[in-house]
Symmetry: C2
Subunit: 247 residues, 2 copies
DNA sequence: GCTAGAGGTTGACGCCACGTCAATGTCAAG
DNA sequence: CTTGACATTGACGTGGCGTCAACCTCTAGC
């Protein structure tokens, strides 16, 4: 059976424009082209179109669909690959939703543009230079935007979390606990989780995490938060132990 | 203070190309343009840029950002509007992820293209004409693709759910329960939820839901599933009662 | 004063999957 | 022969810039 372009469009629930587009990019050629230039499609073409549209509904791009149908890549592989991308997008959206909600709360709280300098206990800007040197200016600018998008309450909670981690490290050091003990590893895990928040969901690699520990030792501004050189070394070793086991 | 375009780009974590783009579309003009054509930005421009980038990180489009900064729309309004869009996108992604996972399971189950005609108890194609007449050919084609993307197990579950609803309606009718009783309304709710699955997440309006009930009466093929004319009328009334209260 | 290299400019194409005119040719029915 | 439905190719628009290309300008060192 041979059908006109409109017939195929109606049967498949798409438009003639789309069919011509698929012809243009070589994704779906008409089975025959009349002397007048009209496109005609047979049942095989219709079947192929159905498969194309099914994959399209799943969110695959046209090149990916072409690959899958050409068999250069297994259907399941293409879908698995696509699934990873979908999950990433979903995570991104989740984080964006959280941020937007936080920003709205901030505005409703009426603290619009004020109260931005109220928190200097852990003043984000304090580490500007260090952050820029280590991770570039963009990293600082991006982190700074994040920090300023938080509500006062969220900023306070972030700082309190850090303080708790710090105090627990200090207590563990005083008690003589090994940096490889379960107790200290649990603290390091909270430390890591806290960092992930500050990185807005990105998870530092083992190397990056240990690198931050080294930084605590090298820079006294950081070390000051963790009880001087001895404390900073202890913390660095705990981070290293945690990274070795869990990252 | 006045800075060159590259300085501003580095300080804000973006690129000079982006800044020129924002100039082109009138979102952020340089505070001064030199005789040589060079763009220069002062602190006010930098502050505005920071706000632009913050909103951009939240996923707003540039026109929306322009509106918000111009004050034609309240910041919070713009964000609330944007939030609705984000949630829709997230829902869409969630459904797509489910579909892709289902399709992968189907392929791993090795039932690739077979086993598609194994289920005719509720043969999706059986209602082709009716669906096309009521909601257009595209609706059928789209529904058909959805149906064929399910695993055998999912198809079976879908049919079993429908059978359960059907049986419960029959039992309620036999027991003389009113269509407005809590018991029957609960069945109607399950009926509705079942339908939402078939519509892949779109939720029929009250009008559409009642319309389907009328269809059960008008068309004996549908009525046959619900115990003849008497049963179909009972079901239609239950659907109407549910729609009146809950949709 | 010359030159190299960094940094600036405008202009234009590319991306992705089509929607949407516009201008024009073709077919079936009355 | 007319009318109206349907077909064609061609080109622009979408969003937010990245990425050349071709060219001008500034700064520093010789």
């Amino acid at each position: 059976m041979e059908r006109s372009i409109q017939d195929i469009a109606r049967l498949s629930g798409t438009t003639s424009r789309t069919l011509r587009h698929y012809g243009d990019i070589g994704l779906l050629e008409p089975s025959r082209i009349g002397a007048n230039g009209y496109r005609y499609y047979d049942d095989d073409a219709l079947a192929r179109l159905q498969r194309i549209l099914l994959l399209r509904d799943l969110g695959l791009g046209l090149p990916a669909i072409a690959d899958a149908l050409a068999g250069t890549r297994e259907h399941a592989d293409a879908l698995a690959h696509h699934l990873r991308w979908l999950r990433q997008e979903k995570d991104r959206l989740d984080r964006q939703i959280d941020s937007v909600e936080a920003t709205i709360r901030r505005m409703k709280g009426g603290e619009q543009l004020m109260a931005e300098e109220m928190f200097d206990g852990f003043d984000h800007a304090q580490y500007k230079d260090e952050v820029e040197r280590r991770w570039g200016e963009e990293a600082y600018a991006s982190g700074d935007r994040w920090w300023r998008s938080l509500t006062a309450e969220e900023k306070a909670r972030f700082q309190l979390d850090q303080k708790a981690v710090q105090d627990d490290y200090a207590a563990a050091l005083a008690s003589g606990a090994s940096v490889e003990s379960d107790e200290v590893l649990a603290i390091a895990r909270r430390h890591y989780d806290w960092l992930v928040v500050g990185w807005r969901g990105r998870r530092p690699t083992a190397e990056q995490f240990v690198g931050m520990g080294d930084m605590y030792i090298a820079d006294e501004r950081f070390g000051a938060n963790y009880g001087g050189l001895e404390g900073a070394t202890y913390v660095r070793d705990a981070m290293k132990a945690f990274a070795a086991r869990n990252l």
